[in-house]
Symmetry: C2
Subunit: 429 residues, 2 copies
């Protein structure tokens, strides 16, 4: 029985119970969200019992870390090291976006090693298969694409990004309206090229019912990719982006009708003052489907520090209701991330998610801050370091510069305000 | 003639002209801001001709980097290295917050080496002098405090933080209302202790006119410090913080009447959904005085990554109208920052400032993003790296992982969407 079927029939799956426990909500709350489509629990039927992560309204904002090789950079051990670091740093899910090396073997290794849900973008592998048979992507047969999707689901993938909203009509809008950076989504560009040269509709849209059948068979979650997401703040919230979202809104309704879990992917590059509107729009047009944003990046110029630009956008998006943040690493726009990038990206994105959770009033969120501030007032360093978002990093920084008086730190030394004011106010209380 | 006097009499100083040029505004726009008190140009009369930085309404958001020793960590060479890195990374001003070693000599060395305005917090040195004469801060004579302030201004300091708003009435409010983290400002805690034990009013408030005279003599800018800023998100925007701001609002009006340049310091720890309100409040209560915020930090738990928490708060604050962001480094709450921390803190804060400037519509802000995105579309890597916020870091990351095809990067390799889509749309346009 799929999670939605279980929820609809009043059966509480193990996953529903586990998510309820993690989120400090009742199982009925989670089941209700599954029924309404405002919550998804991405776990392939073949992977039941390994993990349970809830994404959606009323739940803590989740963080995804992208892994995977590229044609120029293939190293399975490094990808497994990245997986380990991502999970240690607190990523709630990972995606294997490999396009270099033995893709099936890499996916299998990541699925075996992962203790969190795994997502993929099957069209990447479809494109690679076609390229390796010395054909152009535009020569890809529709069945080849669906075969790869089935291969992925059969191997246990929990959620797949599918660019169903890139339709002929959206391509026309793109051509007519123009953009500064056109298309920056790899999957989006494959579909677009295919549509353009074949003069046919996107098979992921045309044969969406087949896709729904496949997803339902494995209880996989569809993540409706935004192939036309803005790649520059100048293109944000334009007719093309919103045109695609309107198509996606229709597809969300059809997935729900079919009993398939679905979430919606979002931008991309968005100026800070448009982030909230983007979230509101998705929540309305897609009737509360969980919103999975990539960043958003609130400036185009932060290469080398895009995790910071992504944390700014992600925090504001989460506070406005985004449910799921895809991390951005310091290497975005420059190279395939390395292990350190992954750690940095996950932590920065977790900060953004937590900042949003405080605003959302998620159970336990501001309590964490409260405990930290209590520890600060008590000058309790063990507790402060334990409560830091990355205890290892915090401990390392503290240990690198120890004060003479172990109650304080080397920033203010003996002039520590916390310590001094205790004398004035402490005796009064 | 002070900058305000010049503006009032219709004389355009060199500084007014330089600021106008940098900001792509007319000199009259800058002069008008000086007259109204919505813009300051912090440069000591003794330092005229060295630099000109405008802070305030209609100007690009500026970034300050804190430097300085602490009793546990004294090394002048390191502080000078931090100054160099801060300026290279793009800090618009620095503050010397030293409390360890030969304070006058450190200040002198920083003033000599700095090519940007320098601020200080004179009460730190007053406290250190008292401590070194084996007395408690509460035994500090009022004249000793004013002597230090004059010493600082005489040595050329451009702006000084003075905690004039920490009054007996605010102390009473603090005692009555209670807080999670009481007082986290060093200067605030000195003043508070002094008031409490001496049962007298804060001399910086009581003798504010003397302070105004001193500031005017050197055309130094007063930065009205928020000694009661919240040190935890739980304390944000509380009666105590706002009580102090009300006092500061009165003092802003008096400074303007006296022809003294003045700005207002702000929080501190503030949950994301209260950041905008804090800016609006300051702009109203302090009648448009430039707002200089520390962060704000939108969570208490990010020790080790507080530059990220600060960038989130700073971006939202700048977008809402904050004029000047004090950087926060990864070492905040843990230790005195090192040279790498300074660089990381300045860049993260510059990203926040730029993100705010895009929203504010500052001339040149979104044009930068536009140029970067044009370079991306053109696959022009030299231009992309040159336009990155930190070209050195971006170049290093790119060079560490070069693709076979020099047009693309190792993230997507040959599947680069930018490159592929050129084929589809490029020929059409």
């Amino acid at each position: 029985m799929t999670q939605i079927e279980a929820a609809r029939s009043g059966n509480l799956t193990e996953e529903i119970k586990l998510v309820a426990e993690q989120e400090r909500r009742s199982p009925e709350f989670i089941a209700e969200g599954l029924k309404r489509g405002t919550i998804v629990i991405p776990v392939n039927l073949l992977r039941r019992g390994r993990y349970a992560v809830g994404i959606g309204e009323g739940l803590a904002t989740k963080v995804n870390a992208n892994l995977g090789t590229s044609p120029d950079s293939v190293n399975l051990d490094r990808e497994l090291a990245k997986l380990k670091v991502a999970i240690e740093a607190g990523a709630h899910t990972v995606m294997d976006l490999s396009t270099g090396g033995d893709l099936a073997a890499i996916r299998k290794a990541i699925l075996e090693a992962s203790s969190v849900p795994v997502g993929t973008v099957p069209i990447y592998e479809a494109a690679v298969r076609v390229a390796r048979s010395r054909r152009s992507i535009v020569e890809m047969k529709e069945d080849e694409l669906f075969e790869v999707i089935e291969d992925h689901l059969k191997s246990g993938v929990d959620f797949v990004t599918v660019h169903c909203g890139v339709t002929r009509s959206v391509l026309r809008q793109l051509k007519e309206c123009g953009r500064l950076t056109d298309v920056v989504s790899r999957g989006g560009s494959f579909v677009l090229e295919w549509i353009y040269y074949n003069e046919k509709e996107n098979p992921l849209y045309e044969r969406y019912d087949d896709l729904l059948d496949l997803a339902k068979t494995y209880d996989a979650t569809l993540s409706l990719g935004d192939g036309l997401r803005p790649g520059s703040i100048a293109d944000a919230t334009d007719l093309v982006q919103i045109g695609e979202m309107v198509v996606i809104g229709e597809l969300v309704a059809r997935a729900r009708k079919a009993g398939v879990q679905v979430m919606v992917e979002g931008p991309g590059h968005v100026p800070l003052n448009e982030v909230e509107s983007n979230v509101i729009l998705e929540k309305k047009v897609c009737k509360g489907a969980p919103f999975y944003v990539l960043g958003p990046l609130v400036t185009d110029i932060a290469a080398g520090y895009d995790h910071v630009a992504g944390a700014i956008g992600g925090a504001v998006a989460a506070a406005a209701g985004a449910d799921f943040l895809c991390y951005v690493t310091p290497s975005e726009h420059l190279r395939l991330p390395d292990v350190d990038d992954v750690r940095e990206g996950v932590i920065a994105t977790r900060i953004a998610a937590h900042v949003g959770d405080i605003v959302k009033g998620i159970p336990g969120a501001s309590e964490w801050d409260h405990s930290m501030s209590e520890a600060r007032k008590a000058l309790d360093w063990d507790r402060m370091l334990r409560l830091a978002i990355d205890p290892e990093r915090a401990t390392k920084l503290r240990k690198s510069s120890m004060p003479k008086d172990s109650e304080i730190c080397t920033m203010c030394g003996e002039y520590c305000a916390m310590k001094k004011v205790k004398g004035v106010l402490g005796e009064e209380r």
